[in-house]
């Protein structure tokens, strides 16, 4: 599988080895079979967009990657570490995997700067000054260094989501997971968040992004994955995916979301 041919992305960039390997993974919520036989191999530097109708298991799948959800069958290996019940392994994986949530989930009792330095200080054991310098660097990258001393409640949705991205980046993660990062935002703010994500992608970050922003998928994705009823239905390069969808279900989905 790991021959050189597979390590060239759709955009022609060289990709590294597998960062995330998911093999025959299944998940149940009680009786309900949410994820069925998921197989996914993500190379370092690859950007993947996951789309599909709501309830198809997209979010659940990426939440399994940092063990916010537990899978019941199959293997998930992240950065060489297999996810099991071992708490040390789980924490090790979480240190290397950043996550951005639909509802930002910033810590309201801490300032923007403290939000960004909390994990570097307590998990990476960085000196405060160093953690703050790193935080300011990333806050500048998401273009809100002037808000550093404000509290999340004082910021707009778009600003909050950019802080959330900076907060994850402060841990210098190897992979970033985005769980519908623009779904809770006003149209005007969607662009400012997408701009940050595109910039991040261009710098070579490994990304898995659950989103309904098809424009984003077309511009940055190396691969688009379409999920329905807990299964990966189709997986292809964006051009092929949008212009020449293979399965009927994908065609129906695309005709519905691209119609307006």
């Amino acid at each position: 599988m790991n021959n050189t041919e597979n390590n060239i992305s759709a955009t022609g960039r060289a990709l590294g080895d597998s960062t995330i390997e998911i093999r025959e993974m299944h998940k149940w919520y009680g009786e309900f079979h949410v994820l069925r036989d998921i197989n996914l191999d993500v190379k370092s530097g690859e950007r993947i967009v996951v789309c599909g109708p709501s309830g198809s298991g997209k979010s659940t799948m990426i939440r399994c990657i940092n063990r916010l959800e537990e899978h019941q069958k199959g293997d998930i290996i992240v950065d060489g570490v297999e996810l099991t019940n071992d708490l040390k392994n789980i924490e090790a994986v979480r240190r290397e995997v950043g996550m951005v949530f639909q509802h930002f989930n910033l810590f309201p009792h801490l300032t923007v700067l403290e939000n960004c330095t909390l994990a570097p200080i307590w998990v990476r054991k960085q000196p405060k000054a160093e953690a703050e310098a790193t935080a300011m660097k990333y806050l500048e990258r998401v273009k809100i260094p002037d808000q550093a001393l404000k509290y999340p409640g004082q910021l707009s949705g778009g600003q909050q989501q950019r802080v959330a991205i900076a907060r994850s980046l402060c841990m210098s993660p190897k992979v970033m997971l985005f769980d519908e990062p623009t779904s809770a935002l006003d149209p005007e703010m969607i662009k400012e968040v997408l701009d940050v994500m595109i910039e991040l992608a261009e710098e070579g970050m490994t990304m898995i992004c659950v989103t309904h922003e098809m424009g984003f998928a077309k511009t940055v994705a190396d691969r688009v994955i379409f999920m329905d009823e807990g299964q990966i239905i189709e997986e292809n390069e964006p051009e092929q995916f949008f212009n020449n969808p293979q399965s009927e279900r994908t065609q129906l989905f695309l005709s519905q979301i691209l119609a307006h």
């Binding site: 916010l68 090790a92 240190r95 996550m99 309201p108 009792h109 909390l118 200080i121 409640g153 994850s168």
Partner: protein, 399 residues
């Protein structure tokens, strides 16, 4: 249409209209009227009281406070005998009330937080046991708890002659719990000094650890080092100096134990009953506070790689406290005021002394009731002011 406003303005030029139809003026007028009505109401109440007291030939004066109280109080933390004044009796009462309130608040808070956390346990049995305790205790009036526990202490514990004996030093009887009281030898001051040194060291160590963390990122075990220096250091000094304390061990003389310290059954019953009762309410407040923190906060923290205990300490608890503190302070107020039920079992608090026996003996109900009310009001306002201060300090900043 254009004619109507002009006509209105013309009609509104009268003085009454000017005052009454202006929003600001109207609110001032209403406030003045309300203040006058209130003044009249209270004025006539006071006049009525003075009039009636005069008809009884009683006047209004606090001179009785200097007269001898001529009744005994078994639990007094300051010098008191039946020859002391009513004022001293009142002070004994105040101290007893404060003692029960402080001890009760501490125990109720500790128990309440533990029960609240147990209530959120994933262990079915623990959760249900905590649930049953809370539902039983908070749905029975606190007076019944006091009487019940008092009954248990007085009727089921043995007489002093058959006391339950712990290592010949502590004795459980229906007259109270008798314990050895320490008598400090001169060398003991070094233990005190070691304790002070320990506290100062812990304080500096904390600052040092914080500085080191900020500069180098290293994290020192601040909690354990502080614990050792504050408790361990004096303990080692104590042992090294050959335990410079002599214990006054209670001894059975006649019908009761003499010497040592005693926790009286009235105090024990009131303390436990008030604490158990209030703890049930606090448990529910704590549970609600923790549940009120969005699960997304825990997820975000864990996704950053913070372990569970740090997630709890740094993210969940600081946010839960904001929900917990306001209702918690009203539970503290309730406990303090409920302590006046002490009178039911003869614990001599402020209600039982100045508001009870002193009142009966002097017939100064007006003055005594005013004093008692003023005392509770003062306690309550102090508690509420300090809790409000704490609440403001931890409040969320928004917009």
């Amino acid at each position: 249409m254009s004619a109507t406003p002009t006509a209105n303005t013309a009609a509104n030029t009268s003085l009454f209209a000017k005052l009454w139809y202006n929003k600001e003026n109207r609110s001032i007028i209403v406030q003045i009227l309300a203040a006058l009505a209130l003044l009249w109401f209270f004025g006539s109440m006071v006049l009525n009281a003075v009039h009636n007291l005069e008809a009884l030939g009683k006047g209004f004066s606090f001179n009785f406070l200097e007269q001898p109280a001529s009744y005994d109080i078994n639990q007094h933390l300051i010098e008191y005998s039946s020859r002391s004044s009513h004022f001293t009796a009142m002070m004994v009462g105040i101290i007893n009330t404060l003692l029960i309130a402080v001890a009760g608040i501490i125990l109720a808070t500790v128990l309440g937080f533990i029960l609240g956390v147990l209530r959120l346990s994933k262990n079915w049995l623990i959760d249900k046991l905590a649930y049953c305790y809370i539902e039983f205790v908070r749905n029975v009036p606190v007076l019944l708890h006091i009487l019940l526990i008092h009954g248990i202490v007085v009727h089921s514990l043995p007489k002093p002659k058959q006391a339950i004996n712990f290592a010949d030093t502590t004795f459980l009887t229906n007259r109270g719990v008798f314990m050895p009281s320490p008598e400090y030898l001169p060398l003991f001051k070094f233990v005190v000094a070691a304790f002070i040194v320990g506290v100062i060291f812990a304080w500096f160590f904390r600052k040092f650890a914080k500085g080191l963390q900020e500069k180098k990122g290293t994290q020192l075990p601040v909690f354990w080092v502080s614990l050792f220096s504050i408790i361990g250091l004096p303990a080692i000094t104590f042992l090294a100096l050959g335990q410079p304390v002599e214990w006054d061990i209670p001894e059975l003389k006649g019908f009761n134990y003499k010497g040592g310290m005693v926790i009286r059954p009235e105090f024990l019953a009131l303390w436990l009953a008030l604490s158990f009762y209030t703890a049930a309410f606090i448990a529910e407040i704590v549970r609600a506070g923790i549940l009120a923190v969005n699960h997304g906060q825990t997820e975000a923290s864990m996704a950053l790689g913070l372990p569970r205990n740090k997630t709890l300490n740094l993210v969940v608890i600081p946010q839960a406290l904001r929900v917990i503190v306001p209702p918690l302070s009203s539970q503290y107020l309730n406990l303090t005021k409920n302590s006046s039920l002490a009178i039911a079992i003869g614990y001599m608090d402020v209600t039982a002394t100045i508001g009870g026996i002193s009142l009966n003996q002097t017939g100064r109900e007006m003055e005594c009731m005013m004093i008692v009310m003023a005392i509770y009001l003062t306690f309550s306002l102090i508690i509420s002011a300090s809790m409000n201060y704490y609440n403001k300090r931890i409040a969320l900043v928004e917009r």
